[in-house]
């Protein structure tokens, strides 16, 4: 028993990695099958959290933190709000489109093609996974030193997004005024 537990603890990180990976896949698969959008959102959130876990196990903790903070905390929360907003008015939509079978076939082909491509062309890694871990300090320094241009461009992108969002609000307010409430 101890040997088993020792063995288990020795490879704990690998075990956890496998568990997280499988869980993420399961949650993703669930997204296809669940009928109600809110449940689909929950499945997505769990996928993202598991991915965050994987990132943490790989050693890039700050990316894990970003994953949960940005994706789950901002994007998915926004999504949940919208679902709640729109679902109050809607009474469910049919689950599948007309392209179910072709879609599945396409999915199989894509999966197969990419897997085969990767397996054929995988280069030897220079370090084992998880070998080169670094912390947020190193990351920030290099981000602002070497990649300052990308940093600035990113902020421009965010400003553009804000302006666009404002424009959308104005358009929606105008159509509100011209349209009779119904």
């Amino acid at each position: 028993m101890t040997a088993f537990l020792d063995g288990l603890l020795g490879h704990l990180d690998t075990l956890l990695l496998v568990v997280f990976a499988l869980s993420a896949l399961t949650a993703a698969t669930l997204m296809i099958f669940l009928r109600q959008p809110m449940r689909v959102a929950m499945a997505l959130i769990s996928t993202m959290v598991f991915l965050g876990g994987i990132y943490g196990l790989l050693g890039v903790h700050f990316i894990a933190a970003f994953q949960v903070l940005i994706y789950v905390g901002a994007v998915m929360v926004f999504m949940v709000y919208v679902i709640m907003l729109l679902e109050v008015r809607e009474h469910g939509v049919a689950r599948y489109s007309g392209l179910l079978l072709p879609g599945v076939a396409g999915f199989a082909m894509v999966l197969g093609a990419i897997l085969i491509s990767i397996w054929r062309a995988l280069p030897a890694p220079n370090k084992a996974t998880g070998g080169a871990a670094f912390g947020i300090g190193k990351f920030s320094v290099s981000f602002l030193n070497e990649y300052w241009l990308q940093f600035e461009l990113t902020s421009v992108l965010l400003v553009a997004a804000v302006v666009a969002a404002l424009a959308v609000i104005r358009v929606s307010r105008r159509t509100d005024r011209t349209r009779p409430h119904g």
């Binding site: 990695l17 993420a24 896949l25 993703a28 997204m31 296809i32 959008p37 689909v40 997505l44 996928t47 993202m48 991915l51 994987i54 790989l58 050693g59 890039v60 990316i63 970003f66 994953q67 940005i70 994706y71 994007v75 998915m76 999504m79 919208v82 679902i83 729109l86 809607e90 939509v93 049919a94 599948y96 489109s97 392209l99 179910l100 072709p102 879609g103 599945v104 999966l111 990767i118 397996w119 890694p125 220079n126 370090k127 996974t129 998880g130 080169a132 670094f134 190193k138 990351f139 981000f143 990649y147 990308q150 990113t154 965010l158 553009a160 997004a161 666009a164 969002a165 959308v168 159509t175």
Partner: protein, 100 residues
């Protein structure tokens, strides 16, 4: 199979599942969420490969992906809101005005 291969397989699986969801699901919001899933899969593969180098380039790229995804969602949702308000349904098949 080593860890890299497994992680890549997971990433590919997430990506394909996301693509399947876009093709197969009819609800607009569910489609959006599947697109997020695709992005996640790509992120995972980015991180996996970034781990293999000692530079921070991969991590920076991942961070930028986050930012772009956020900006995209920030705008996609209002567009969907306006569409829904106009068509009064979340069914994607109703949005076929660009036919022909």
């Amino acid at each position: 199979m080593d860890r890299t291969q497994m992680l890549l397989a997971v990433a590919i699986g997430l990506f394909s599942l996301g693509l399947l969801g876009v093709i197969v699901r009819r609800n607009v919001l569910v489609m959006l969420m599947c697109m997020e899933l695709m992005l996640n899969g790509v992120n995972l593969s980015l991180v996996t490969f970034a781990q293999q180098t000692a530079t921070t380039a991969g991590a920076v790229l991942v961070f930028l992906t986050f930012v772009v995804a956020t900006a995209e969602i920030a705008l996609a949702i209002p567009i969907v809101l306006l569409l829904v308000r106009d068509k009064r349904t979340l069914d994607l098949d109703a949005y076929s005005d660009l036919k022909g």
